[in-house]
């Protein structure tokens, strides 16, 4: 099972590609409020890229909760625990 650190690393890469920002600029509180590239369209791409990368399904509720980098780590960790 994937450790939280590994999830953090992989998510950083996904966020960096989808939002087109440097990976080392990503802080836990990264959100649509402080990242202009994170608009509603990119949000949809973020959800699908995360689903693909971790082979998980995110419910509509989880998609709506995913509003910061930190929340993404939590949601993925939880979804992977369920899968595992």
């Amino acid at each position: 099972m994937m450790k939280r650190d590994e999830i953090n690393m992989s998510l950083r890469e996904v966020f960096s590609i989808v939002l087109n920002i440097p990976a080392d600029s990503i802080k836990p509180d990264l959100s649509p409020d402080n990242c202009s590239n994170w608009d509603s369209l990119r949000h949809v791409h973020l959800v699908t890229a995360i689903s693909d990368a971790f082979r998980i399904h995110l419910s509509i509720e989880q998609q709506l909760e995913l509003m910061s980098f930190q929340s993404a780590v939590d949601i993925v960790a939880k979804a992977m625990r369920h899968n595992g």
Binding site: V14, N20, L41, H45, A53, S59
Partner: protein, 600 residues
Amino acid sequence: MSTKVDAKMLEDLLRDPQRHLRARAELRKDLDENPGTITYLRWQSRLPSPSSATPIVIVSSFTIETIAPFLDVEAYVSGWRIAPTFHQYGQWERALLDPSLISKEAKACILLLHRQALVADKVTVEQALANLQELIGQFRKTHVIPIIIGLLAELPDVDDIAFGLNTPSMRVDDLANLNAGIRKISKEIDGVFVLDIPMLAAYVGATWYDRAGYHARLSVVSHQGLPVLARGIARLVACLLRPRRKVLVMDLDNTLWGGIVGEDEAEGVALGEGWPGAAYIEFQKTIKALRDSGIVLAINSKNNEEDARAVFDSRAEMILRWNDFASRKINWNNKVENLKEIAAELNVGLDSLVFVDDSPAECALVRDVLPMIEVVELGSDPSLFAKNLLASQAFDTLAISREDKMRNESYAVESKRKSLQISTADYESFLRRLNLRLRIDPASGGMADRLYQLINKTNQFNLNLRRISFDEVRKLIVERARLYAISLSDQFGDYGIVGSVQLSRTDENLEIVGLAISCRVLGRRVEEAVLAFCCEQARLDGLAQLSAVHVEGARNQQIQDVFRRCEFNEVCLSDSCRKYTMDLRSHNVTWPDCFIGQCS
């Protein structure tokens, strides 16, 4: 074909404008291997910034804007750059009705609909189709741009049986009837094309439809479906922006047949029933179909010519005949040199060629030395040859014109003309004995395909090398601009439409703003006849001067010779730009006497 794409190499290729064909092929490979959102977004940010992008309007009854990055990448793979504008869900009908909503700059309108937007509570399929026809008809009154309608791609489901599959007007029937109706509309309204989305959806099957997304944000197509839909749109629109390549140059051993004729002999190569012979026959059928659609065939093979010929002569299973190939280079020369000779012999540019070979080494050599040639590496599985060749998109076209179908026949007829020429004492009497008939007609709707092809493919006898999109050709025709089609026939056959000329009038002067004549008829004095026609037109308009500006390119210098021969006055505007004028009060171009008929 299964070699992994080297990301670093692809990044380098994307930065090199000379290698864009290679970059596109490698990118296609990577997208096919990893079709996920992340791959598209990664490459989207690495695409070269476009020098110009084509504005396209996407009108959709559902949410579709998330397709943008997929469209960006797929359009690049198809050889063009996209600048999309979206009109979604509630706005789709208004977008078609209100002319101010769709920019005049747009080159095409893509219309994507879903069943629930058309067929509602009290709206039947028939009413829905009548409404749609009315909307598109209204749009057509204000816009000439091509409309591409997607067929509805809601996949039938095994669980549909719960509603009684044999009950009339259930979902499956409605979909079939709606799609048949949309096809009918595309035939009835000018410039409407169909995008077969169900065929695209079949690529990803059950994952096409985004059930939760539909309820949450009215998005019908899932993230697995978006890249496939983007690919379909990019490929179809590419046909509106660039003409197909003209010539397919083939290797022989392990390409047209299995094995090596020099070693296995004609009787030993694999052709016909069973594996792998049947796969090679199937591939030959595809090549034959391409030939019938106007693609000229050529051979480029390392072999002794008599060995290769023996397969054509002695193997009855062969679908392709020796004479199906307009040029044959079967020798031990470098394939690059052979390709140059083939292009020269067929009188086409190297960028009109597609080269296919099973050998990665030969393919790499040609890609390196002649990057303007589209190279298709067939791989080692002959059952995938046809798919690999067609997936290159080099031969994609919206429609096959009459001239396309006649092209190969005309290469054969050309040899009869040559023998008449040899048996005739001088060129003038040869021309007279040909019984040439020339027609110059105002361009009409059915000619748009062919004129678009001519204007964009003609490199030699082309006044200014100005290229225009299919949409612009249609616009000229609809607006009755003075665009004319030049047709030629002789005692051996019909050449079809061989040229186009476009005129524009100012106060004192008639200007030739476009002139392109196919290289197949150069030397038949068509050039002079067209200038004579232009003089006549100027006189009919009561004008005293005819003019034209020649912009010199790599291969169109013969334009100068014709203007000089007809005694136009020449003024140098710049190194590559000359203005020709004729004072019609003192000068004239007369019809060459080799033509029997002349009319417009």
